[in-house]
């Protein structure tokens, strides 16, 4: 079902990482990290497994990732020409853009009315989901492994059996007057 999912080359992967990092930015993995721009503290979408989620068989994007990566680089070249940016040709064009330029280009691609908006929004959705759900992993495992997104959100850990239960859940107080027209069954009139 997923031709190409396992055929992403290093450059294509860098481009997709750079896009994911534009959506939920993170700190560089190594000092010479080019894909991750280092625009925010803590792990971003890339550290949370954005590319793993994009290529997952379940997600259904795998077969189009090579053309999405190529599309991003093509748009980056056009953007650079238009804005007079010189691109370092040792890395893919989108990766060569500064974080601010990646952000501006991503905003253009995902703006209402852009003919390819759907495609780039879908890629952004996977990037966000990697960060705040870690959907390529079991959630309990992700939390135990210190998943940067779930950890940063303060997402509480489950009980030992992998299920969540909150015994303390209510202020247990009357907090407002009920609407005067509330019926005996507790419904609006």
């Amino acid at each position: 079902m997923q031709p190409g999912a396992d055929q992403l080359d290093f450059a294509q992967k860098m481009t997709l990482e750079a896009f994911a990092d534009t959506i939920i930015p993170g700190e560089r993995r190594t000092p010479d990290d080019r894909a991750v721009a280092g625009a925010a503290e803590g792990g971003g979408a890339v550290a949370c497994g954005a590319v793993e989620l994009m290529i997952s068989e379940e997600g259904g994007l795998g077969g189009m990732l090579d053309s999405l990566a190529a599309g991003l680089d093509d748009h980056a070249k056009v953007y650079a020409d238009r804005t007079g940016r010189l691109l370092d040709d040792t890395v893919p064009a989108f990766v060569a853009l500064s974080f601010a330029d990646r952000t501006a280009l991503a905003a253009e691609l995902m703006a209402k009315g852009h003919p390819e908006q759907d495609m780039w929004v879908a890629l952004a959705m996977f990037s966000v989901m990697a960060w705040d759900t870690g959907a390529h992993m079991h959630t309990a495992d992700a939390i135990a492994a210190g998943h940067p997104g779930l950890t940063a959100m303060g997402y509480a850990a489950p009980d030992a059996d992998g299920l969540w239960r909150f015994g303390d859940y209510s202020y247990h107080r009357v907090l407002a007057r009920r609407h005067p027209h509330t019926t005996a069954s507790g419904d609006p009139r």
């Binding site: 703006a111 705040d132 303060g154 239960r165 015994g167 407002a176 507790g186």
Partner: protein, 546 residues
């Protein structure tokens, strides 16, 4: 593989619109077959897990459209398995709505008073219980206290939840692991099976044709249990009566595709779709002000920081459910939990200097996630949704193995709808931004357009054949013996959660369906006894240490 069969009543879909007639007709003596396109999941399957392939994607369908995106159930039990179980009755004035028609949208035969006995029947069967302040979670309590601070009222929302079993885990959108949420898996569906109904999961109905004896033939594909894109077989079942209850995002598509074999459909099939006027706002609260302004604190010393804890929406503002206000200016506001993923992507950064929904500032907003409060607006939209020509199979082209698909629904909100949303957004700000309690932003509608978890009206009841596909018995005009009983039959947005009203309408439709079945030679009588209770779980599970 092709298989064939016959039955008295064939029901397409097993949500409220399908499960209720399935039970009552089976109990009354009819042979009933239910075809459900999704899997049959029970408590053990409802894992607490965001991983693709878990219950959070197996039981759901997110159908992207042009300007409207629909999130709905895709499993036995339909919406009842993935819903938040908030069950308020629709206020009186909604039944008098005119929309842009210039006359009443609902059939003259139906008012709140007429529907109340049917509501009562559903309330007893699920059951639905009135909630009290002890049941109200931190997030609901925070919203109620903010309403009070703003001089407004707030109500605990009636819910189909057994609070003795509920762990407040907030995973209910993936089904309830603890059988605390009173889904149809616990009442109508097991009762239907007990009375001989056959429920066949992973059967996706494609179209309906006629049989020579005046009955109907329902054509289906079977789909793979993991990759719903894979068709594993096909078949047909003949029936004397067909009940279409595939949900408002699918029922009209099945009927559209059936035009080739059944003949012309009423003009209102696939038109007048309503998203129930839905819209979300996300607030980020100032924890100090929660304590100082509202006087709230938890046992562990925190003021709030409890977005994750709870059982969906438990508190609502009904101040604008006022029949004296003009149409398109009435709405309810409900505190809501939406899990990460779907529940975060469209949330916008207040006072952003860059992009509002992604980037560095969005990451900062997400870091404060436990201080979020999401407010759900249900307002009066203008029934402006229209379905395009049906796709090759199903109701949409599937993108992912599960959950994600692209359909043909187009929705361009009118000035009426937009004005209603603007008024509701302002109302949320008036309550939550007062005295610096929170900063609030509506979810972006620039990214994917509008969205709804309560699709309605795409095949609606009414008195006028031009603007309603069904008469007031839910029978499809010009196609006797086909009934539509799901959310698509509701004439318009209800300003509250619609599941209870959909269920009450389905109950009300059953005596008429019994009459039609009898006329077609089916030995069936109307049975009004409640379905009784069951469990979906195959083994008991510890509920809570509280």
């Amino acid at each position: 593989m092709t298989n064939t069969g016959s039955t008295d009543v064939l029901i397409i879909g097993s949500g409220f619109g399908g499960a209720i007639p399935a039970y009552r007709l089976a109990a009354g003596g009819a042979r009933v077959t239910v075809l459900e396109r999704g899997p049959w999941l029970t408590a053990e399957d409802f894992d607490h897990d965001f991983k693709f392939g878990s219950a959070s994607t197996r039981g759901f369908e997110f159908t992207m459209g042009n300007g409207m995106n629909v999130l709905g159930g895709n499993c036995v039990g339909g919406g009842s398995v993935v819903y938040f179980a908030a069950m308020p009755r629709a206020p009186r004035f909604t039944f008098e709505r005119q929309g842009s028609l210039g006359r009443r949208m609902w059939p003259q035969a139906i008012t709140r008073e007429v529907l109340d006995p049917w509501y009562d029947m559903v309330a007893e069967s699920l059951p639905i219980t009135r909630q009290d302040w002890d049941d109200v979670t931190f997030s609901g309590g925070l919203f109620a206290a903010a309403c009070d601070h703003a001089g407004r009222t707030a109500n605990p929302v009636p819910a189909a939840i057994d609070t003795n079993r509920c762990t407040n885990c907030n995973w209910m959108m993936s089904g309830c692991r603890f059988d605390a949420k009173r889904s149809l898996l616990l009442n109508y569906l097991p009762a239907a099976v007990r009375h001989g109904a056959e429920i066949r999961p992973l059967h996706e109905v494609q179209h309906i044709s006629r049989t020579p004896d005046g009955g109907y033939r329902v054509h289906f594909n079977t789909v793979d249990e993991v990759d719903y894109r894979v068709v594993t077989g096909s078949g047909v079942i003949d029936a004397k009566i067909v009940i279409v209850a595939a949900g408002a995002a699918a029922s009209p598509v099945i009927l559209q595709r059936s035009e080739e074999t059944l003949g012309a459909m009423p003009a209102a099939v696939g038109r007048y779709f309503s998203g129930n006027g839905e819209r979300l706002n996300t607030a980020v609260v100032d924890e100090h002000r929660v304590r100082d302004l509202l006087g709230l604190s938890r046992a562990d010393g925190k003021a709030y920081e409890a977005y994750q804890i709870g059982k969906g929406p438990v508190a609502a503002s009904w101040d604008r459910l006022d029949g004296d206000l003009p149409e398109f200016s009435r709405h309810s506001l409900e505190q809501l939990y939406f899990p990460p993923g779907f529940g975060t992507i469209l949330a916008q950064v207040p006072d952003a200097t860059g992009p509002t929904w992604f980037g560095t500032e969005k990451k900062d907003l997400l870091r404060r996630w436990q201080s979020w409060l999401t407010i759900f607006i249900m307002s009066e939209d203008d029934n402006e949704g229209v379905f395009g020509p049906p796709p090759e199979t199903g109701n949409a082209d599937r993108i992912s193995q599960q959950m994600l698909s692209r359909g043909t629904l187009s929705y361009q909100p009118t000035a009426n709808t937009r004005a209603g949303w603007d008024r509701a957004d302002a109302d949320v700000r008036e309550i939550l931004e007062r005295d610096g309690l929170a900063r609030v932003m509506p979810w972006s509608d620039e990214v994917i357009g509008a969205y709804t978890v309560h699709p309605l009206s795409s095949c609606r009841i009414g008195d006028d054949g031009l603007t309603s596909a069904l008469d007031d018995t839910h029978e499809l005009r010009d196609h006797p013996g086909i009934f539509v009983t799901d959310g698509s039959s509701v004439p318009g947005g209800l300003t509250v959660n619609p599941a209870f009203t959909i269920a009450a309408l389905a109950e009300r439709a059953v005596p008429g369906i019994v009459e039609a079945a009898t006329a077609r030679g089916v030995p069936v009588r109307y049975v009004d006894t409640p379905p009784g209770n069951a469990v979906s779980s195959r083994r008991p599970l510890a509920i809570a240490a509280r």
